[in-house]
Point group: C2
Chain length 376, copies 2
């Protein structure tokens, strides 16, 4: 499946820190995260996402006069596509910053599309590079699964605070995270996989004791924990059908990209009420997705607001899919039931680009359950 | 498939060096390599390899008196299995060194099997830890795909040079690498995948130009290179049937673990002659595998030599499989043809645990072709 940076939650001896200048963290961060973006195949996956491409394309060209004569910064330019569009829309100068060797391809693409007199590709981290001037617009495609996986927004905010002129605009300008109750067969599937794995462990320990004289059963609890985490507590990438959403989605996070702080984005914490639709009887779990909007800036509102949504869809799916948090067992619900509770999403201590999620949920006046997940 | 440490050939900004004490290299090395070994599921995969387990078990217990009263070092103890066997066979003391948090599980396993008065688990890199004494035996399961992938032997040699008493023994004592001509349908399969990917690129560039005004064709050569490397020049893990071997295997490397130096193992360089078996008409490529032997030491030869081979087999397959290097197009051969040439395997510049391979080959007096591969 088209992914956004496969990453392992490496139980590193050193805790991942937010200080990107630590050499060992940068090398591990590269090995864990950045390196996938250096591959053209991966860029092509994202460039083939029609909904994504159309949203960014329209956000620029339906508001072209907001780009004319302006200075633009593209954070994480990848292949250079956003930078090229900004230049084609009339920007005076575009700084296209890219950490990986993909920057070399971006420079070629800019030149081949005759925008090299406007677009300057800079290879480096946006936290560390230097620009000759401040910018009018920051454009970036920074969103990960469920918006915040990858924590790339951090880099965009550093760029904003360092390089955006007062009154400047962020593209996108706003972002929202949504949570909804869903139904899915994947819950049973994962439970079966888990149980098969545990059965296999039993045979394994018996055989290892019998054939090789070593009793592994003392590790059974640790093995179970590992398998529970892997099969039952790891969120799944899914591209859901709209009919799988069985209740009203709730807004769990709103971000104004001009004013949000780093502290604001380090955690998502919200209560929710999810009224179940008529006729639905089962809630297998929750799905999380996001949307972003391109509204321009307060002083220069977009002529036409463009929205990019990753909600479940038939025809307008995106490579982001949704992140699915499955409950074991599923919840049984009746007409007019309301699933209420809270979601708390924080960064993994071992890798700040991955997330820990706790969803507390109850039906009506029923007892509350807390379910823990990891976004890997 | 049961893997041995998934690794990416990360095009890191910093070249990977052999100096393990560089903090940034260690963190990247952990993220790239070590971390998978911290998972019980991964250990279980290796512990479930019957052929592997039987070979090591027999190497110890069929020569138990060579362990009695001795001091043993287990390099990369993982779950602790080899250390426990050494203790059960009568060792006086066993130092079980493990870099990852798996060491915590090893300590529990040692205690649960009542060997904690003999086995001391030490968490750390064998290059850096300190032992109170030198050892009589070093036992280690360090072999990666095609023997040398992962370059874990480096750590075993450091341990040997630092901690093994004169006259001490290495378990295993010897290793050999083999190369053979094979037939396989995978070559056509990979070529089809490659061609589908390139066709898709054509549609992609056309669409991006038409719908979004950006001409990506300047990146076609780079994309092709990337796809050629991925589909056609990356060795495959396969568990081959013996009937797929179509000619006489050649020995391409011999290692005496007591005397081999780090320089010796940094490259494999050998000429080969591979006589094709009667009736075979096609050579799809080459397969590489290895065997190791437990012969004890010159002063204390094993009562019974145990061999662990990863050659193609029906009943005695291992999780190592073989590494397959496919030729495009395959070679057409006739009775009594001899495929001759050379293999050169060196470490990847960006990740010393991965390999670059060049196989030069010709049939009889025919022209020589050089085919390049990567072991990822």
């Amino acid at each position: 499946m088209a992914g956004r940076g496969p990453m392992r939650a490496a139980p590193s001896p050193e805790r991942a820190t937010m200080n990107g200048t630590e050499k060992n963290d940068k090398a591990a961060d590269f090995a864990n995260y950045f390196c996938t973006y250096a591959f053209l195949y991966h860029q092509k996956e994202m460039l083939s996402d029609r909904v994504r491409m159309e949203a960014y394309y329209n956000s620029v060209f339906k508001n072209a006069h907001h780009f004319q004569g302006k200075v633009v910064l593209d954070v994480g330019t990848g292949s250079g596509i956003l930078a090229i569009w900004a230049a084609q829309a009339g920007a005076r100068r575009v700084y296209a910053v890219e950490y990986t060797d993909m920057a070399k391809h971006a420079a070629k693409l800019v030149a081949a599309n005759k925008m090299d007199h406007i677009v300057e590709v800079i290879q480096g981290s946006v936290e560390e590079i230097d620009l000759p001037e401040k910018v009018d617009i920051i454009i970036s495609e920074w969103m990960g699964y469920f918006l915040l996986r990858e924590s790339m927004l951090d880099s965009v905010l550093v760029a904003r605070d360092k390089w955006l002129k007062p009154g400047g605009a962020m593209y996108p300008s706003h972002a929202r995270m949504w949570l909804a109750p869903i139904k899915s067969g994947m819950g049973e599937h994962k439970m079966q996989d888990y149980e098969a794995s545990m059965n296999d462990w039993v045979h394994f320990t018996q055989n290892t004791r019998h054939a090789f004289g070593v009793d592994m059963s003392t590790l059974s609890n640790s093995y179970r924990e590992e398998q529970v985490k892997y099969f039952l507590q790891t969120s799944l990438w899914q591209s859901l059908y709209p009919s799988q959403v069985v209740g009203q989605p709730a807004l769990v996070k709103e971000i104004d990209c001009l004013t949000v702080t780093l502290d604001d984005v380090k955690a998502v914490s919200a209560n929710f009420q999810l009224p179940v639709f008529d006729g639905e009887t089962r809630v297998s779990g929750f799905a999380g997705w996001f949307d972003v909007r391109f509204q321009g800036s307060p002083s220069q509102a977009a002529d036409e607001t463009v929205e990019l949504t990753t909600a479940p869809s038939i025809n307008d799916t995106t490579h982001w899919g949704q992140q699915v948090f499955l409950l074991h067992p599923p919840l049984h619900v009746r007409d007019n039931d309301v699933v209420h509770g809270s979601i708390l999403m924080t960064r993994s201590k071992t890798n700040h680009r991955l997330m820990d999620v706790v969803i507390k949920h109850a039906i009506g006046k029923g007892a509350e359950t807390a379910s823990a997940f990891h976004i890997e």
